[in-house]
Structure formats: C-alpha cells, structure tokens
Amino acid sequence: VRLLPRPQPLRALDERIGFAGVARKALGKVFPDHWSFMLGEIALYSFMILIATGVYLTLFFEPSTALRPYTGDYDPLSGELLSGAYASTIELSFDVPGGLLMRQAHHWAAHIFIGAITLHLCRMFFTAMFRRPRELNWMVGLTLLILSIFNAYAGYSLPDDLLSGTGLRIFEAILRATPLVGAWLSFLMFGGEFPGDAIIERLYILHVLVVPGLLAAGIAVHLLILVVQKHSHFAGPGRRETNVVGSRVWPAYALRSLSLLSAVAAVCFLAGGLLQINPIWAWGGFEPATITSPSVADWYILWIEGALRLFPPIEFTVFGLLVPNQFWAGVFLPAMVFGVLYLWPWIDRRLTGDRGTHHITGRPREAPARVGIGAWAITFMAVLLAAGAQETWVQWTDWDIATVRTILRITVLALPVLVGVVSWWLARSLKHQGEERELLELQRTDLAPAAHHDQEEVAG
C-alpha cells in the first residue's frame, strides 16, 4: 500500500509566500513581563469584542427617528408609537434572543476599553514612557483615547432614549459654545436647530464606520511603532537601554495573551448577562421637552458634567461677543486637558531637563514635580467625577444643593493641591532615600522638610 505524502500546509504556504523566516523571528520576539504591560492589551482585546458584538447589534438596530409601532413582547410599550432607534433597541433587549446579552456586553466592553486606555495612559505618564523616542506613540495613544470617548458617547446616544437625549442636548450646548463658529457647527451636526431629525443617522454612521475605522487605523499605527521601537522594560538585573528582557512570543507569551483575551471576553459576557446596564426601557423614549431626574452620564464624560455643574455663573462679552458659561467646562477644560497631555513630552523636558533616549521605564521618584502634577490632575478629575454625581451626595447628606455645590467647589480647588503637594513631597523624600527604599518603608525621619533637600541638591 502506497501512502500519500502527509499534507504539509505550512510548507505549501511557505513555498508560495516564504514567510517562515519572518515568522521565526516573530515567534522569538521578547515581551517584558510586568502586569502593567497588559493594560494596553486589555484595551486592544476589548476593542475586538466591541467590533464583534457591535456588528451583531447593527443587524437589528434601525438608525431612525421616524415613529413606528412597537409590537414586541415588552408589554408596557406594546402598541406604542416609538422612534425606530428606540423601538429597535427595545426589540434587541426583549424580542431578539441573545440580543440583550450582546447589547450589555457591548456596553460593558466600552467601559473596559476606555478604562484600560486611561490606566494605560496613567502608567505611561508616571513611568515617563512618553520620553524620546516614544513621543509620537504617546500622541497616537491620546488620539485613540479621544476617539474612543467620542465613539462611546455616540453609541450611548443611539438608542434615542430620554437619558441619552438629554446628553445630546448638553452636547449641542457645548458644540454651540465653540468660539465664533459654534452655532454653525451645531446646525451642521444636527441638520438644523436642536433636536432636528438627522442626528441619530449621523451619529450612527460615525459610530459604526468612521470612528471605528479611524480607531483601527490608529491602533495599527500604534502597534507598528511599538514593534519598530520594541517594548520598554522595567529596570532590573540584566536590563539595559540596549536590550529587552522577558518572555518569547511563542509559546509562553502567546498563550498568556490569549488567556488575557479570553479573560476580557469572559468579563464582558459575564457582566453582559448578569449585570444590567443602561436599561433604556426605564428611561423612556426621547421627548425634547421632558427630562429624567436624576440625570447622570457615563463616567468617561462625567468629569465634563461635573465641571459644568461647579463652574460659577459667569458670562461676559469680549468685543461684543458673549463668552457662554458652558464654554469653560465644555470646550476650554477638555481642550486644556488634552492639549497639555499632547504637549506633555515637551513640557516634561522643560521640567526635568531630560532630553535623552529611554527604553528603561522611569521611576516616579526620579521626577517629583511630574508626580505632583500627575497626582494633582488625577485628583482634580476625580473630584469633577464626584461633582457629576452631585445629586447622589445631596441624597446621602440631605443637605441642599447649594451647600453640596459649595463644598465641591472648595474641594475641587483645594484637594488636588493638597494631594499634589503630598505626592510631590513623598516622591522627593523617596528620591533622597535612594533607589532601594519603597514607599511603604518610608520612616517619619525620612520626610525631612523640603528646604533640607534643596540644600542637599545644591551640595550634590
């Protein structure tokens, strides 16, 4: 009996495209082992889950504000005239088997996506991995964060429910507060005066095609630059500016990374099945003259909401033009936050005088000023988030809104400064205790007054 030769698909492929050399190299690529390198990966994997669940949702969702009867199983709305967007989201939730799982998994994945990117950003900031040669990828990453916040907001607005409609109302107010061209921007976006009847269709095409396309392209660029520059790594024995130490892609790292993909998917689908999120049937459909109370937005834009609430009632005119109140919290603040972040590699150069190339991550203590500013910024954002849920504090404390607002206004100014100064001071103390000392090992005597350190620095 003559046996046929055993088929060798890899060999056959290699004979045609000659990939084995490149693949051999790729399998041997070294990945550093540190948990914080997983944050970016979590973002990548939740993006994949967003695409998969999102494509499923588009097969059922109708991006339309035209009214049509709902005839499904959800009794309270049965027979009612609803907008196509709202009705089809209700159908996805009650009448499409598996639809609610996909919808909720999609929403949870969006939270994980933006959360992971934000933590990834913080890690890069405090370990100073925006420094040369990674300035470019720092900016690509920031762009991805802005795009993902916009896309999450657009997706959140699509079901045309009362809560997200209120969010769109505020979005319109912010858009129109753009200097000079604001009214035009708003009318071009909405097709006319708010609410118009075009916004759902427009957000839909942005949400499912334009922005995901930009995100995919941006992620490709981000990863390409990463591969070219290779990973940074944490300091340790044998780790140098001229090498990367860690695990090889195959087999250890690939399996671990696949495990992370499965874990992210597991969290999305477990949460999607077991934890209710955005029950739009409880809010009702959008009616422009109506509003739900309380109205609390998703966390990734809640800081803007908090700032809108805390900013004092100030409006003035410049050269006959009104500077609308919502400009400061809605336009100026986000522009400042992201503007400073984009410029941070160069601001940091000024602060530290460090223009060198780095592949070993910095330790926070090496630049106490950076630690202080970072801690200030994080606390500032955290208080704004808390202000975004002001009604919760009003309910808990039973104080009136004015009192709670005054406390929050004082807190948003004072607390970040306090936290920033303490962090700066601790980082300074650690810096002067040398590399070995850990934060929790600091003794009272190590926390010498700042003046003492200054002298030391001058002496050194």
Binding site: A183, S259, A289, P324
Partner: protein, 304 residues
C-alpha cells in the same frame, strides 16, 4: 536571574541552557478546557430552550473564563521551564550613509527644480481641499435662515394660543398654585420643535416682582417662562412650589419664578426668557409675541 538573562543570545534562544526536566502532565489545564467545552454546550442549550439573558451570559462568560484559566495555567507551566530571554535593540536611526542615500534619492529629479512649481501644487491642493468643504454646508438643511437668526427667535407669534402636551388650549384658572404646566404653540409638534417649550406658573400677584417694562406680561399672576435652561439647554423639569423655584436636573441651576426667573443658584447666568401673555376672546391664554430674549444656552454671537 541576571546571569541567566545574559546567557541568551539576541535570537531569543537560550544558549546552552539545560533542557528542562520532564514535567508532569498539566491536568488542570485539560480540566479547564473540558469545562470550556461544557460551558459552550450549555450556552447553545440555553439559547435553544430560551433560558434567558442571565443563563446565556453565565454559560458563555463561564466558558470563556475557564478558557482563560486553562491558557493561563498552561502558560505558567511553560514559564516554569523557561529562562528569561534577551533581545538586543538595534539603534532606531538609520546608518548615516544610508540616510544620505535616501535624501539623495528624494532630491534626484530629471526636471529642473522649481520652487514655484511646488508652491503652485500646494496652492492647487489647498484650494481643491477648500472647495471640497463646500458641500458640507448641505448638512444644515435650511438655506435661507442663518443659525444665528434661527437661534435668536422662536415660533411664538402675537395671538398664538398656548396648548398643553395633549394639544388642548389652557385657561388661566387651570394653572394651579402648586404645579407648573408645560405648553407649546398651537399647531407645533412638540417632538420636533423644542425652542418654543414654555412653563406656566401661578404666582401670588403680591409676590410677583417683574421689571417695570414687563407690566401686563402676566395674566392674574400666571406667568410664562421658557422651559430651556439658559446654561446647557435642558428642560427645567422640577418645580419647588414652596419656594416658587424651577430647578434644572442636569446641572442644578435654580431660577426664582417670582423675580422674572432670575438664576439664584448654579451655573446658569441668564434668567429664563419670559413669554408675554394675554387671553383671547374665548378666555384662553395666548402669547403677545416672542420671548424676552433668545432661549436656551448662550453662544458667541448671542445678540445683546
């Protein structure tokens, strides 16, 4: 670790590392993968019998969780037998000679170098891009009314009746002392048009404190204000009748309805515009004209 790390070459291959001792079969990994398959079957079964979202999520998510655990355990078993690997970084910048070659290739042109030619190409590309922006104007459907004009006025006309959410006209007596009524101009679809939305409040005429030029804008203490907050445009949907205050649930601005809806707390900086009221011969409330100011959030070209 350091010594071990240094022993491996840049190919990522351990050089002369002793082969790991034969390891025990990783049974827990096998169990996890089996449980993944079981979870997948459970998911399919849950879908088949329509067991609900919780069952679908628990089976599918559970299957994925076991897959993650199995892969993690497998990877850990591999790690136990693996040293740390070292890959050398080559410098990112290109070698100077090669870079110069690149610049030379870029500069090489059979046609005479001309700054004017390049400038004109830039200008043409710029104008083409600029021209391509014009169709964006079509995104705003209206062609005769500028956004500034549209934002500055509403469809409230003298003599137009105020109707409630059900489209019924309103008499002054229907406005009670402890609640507000939301009204729209007769004939306007309140689902499409929002700048005309108005609240009616009844205020004891003794307490009512309007500016002198607004004398006669109320009907027996019934006053009408725009329902759109002058901060971010949310409907001021909450009424605190004991204090005659309208409150916006979005950013918690509070307006005093006795004193021309002046903002007394929160970020709102302008009063709610007031709608001058009258009654027609049938006794129903009508508008005497448009609001006292543009409604809703401010913008840069807000008319003074």
């Amino acid at each position: 670790v350091s010594a071990a790390a240094e022993e491996h070459n840049s190919e990522g291959r351990p050089s002369g590392a002793p082969p790991g001792a034969p390891q025990a079969f990783p049974w827990p990994v096998l169990v996890c993968f089996a449980l993944t398959a079981a979870g997948a079957v459970g998911f399919a079964a849950s879908y088949w019998v329509d067991a609900g979202t919780e069952a679908l999520g628990a089976t599918f998510g559970g299957a994925l969780a076991f897959l993650a655990l199995g892969l993690a355990l497998w990877s850990r078993a591999i790690d136990a037998g693996e040293p740390e690997y070292v890959e050398q970084r080559s410098p990112l910048r290109t070698a100077p000679s090669e870079y110069d070659g690149f610049r030379a290739a870029l500069a090489e042109q059979p046609v005479r170098r001309s700054g004017v030619l390049w400038s004109m190409l830039g200008l043409s590309a710029f104008s083409l891009g600029g021209a391509a922006l014009f169709p964006l104007r079509s995104l705003y459907f209206e062609h005769d009314v500028s956004p500034d004009e549209a934002l500055s006025r509403t469809d409230w006309l003298p003599g137009r009746r105020l109707v409630d959410d059900d489209g019924l006209p309103v008499k002054p007596v229907e406005v009670g002392p402890d609640s507000v009524i939301t009204v729209h101009p007769e004939g306007v679809d309140p689902g499409k048009e929002v700048d005309t939305v108005t609240v009616l409040v009844r205020i004891d005429p003794v307490e009512l404190d309007l500016p002198p030029e607004r004398t006669g804008w109320d009907v027996d203490g019934v006053v009408a204000y725009s329902k759109l907050c002058t901060h971010a445009g949310c409907p001021v949907g909450l009424y605190v009748e004991t204090r005659y205050q309208l409150l916006c649930p979005c950013h918690h601005s509070i307006f005093d309805t006795r004193r021309a809806a002046d903002p007394i707390e929160g970020p709102a900086s302008r009063p709610l515009p007031q709608l001058p009221l009258d009654v027609d011969e049938a006794g129903y409330l009508v508008a005497r004209g448009d609001f006292s100011a543009p409604v809703g959030p401010g913008w840069w070209r807000y008319p003074e």
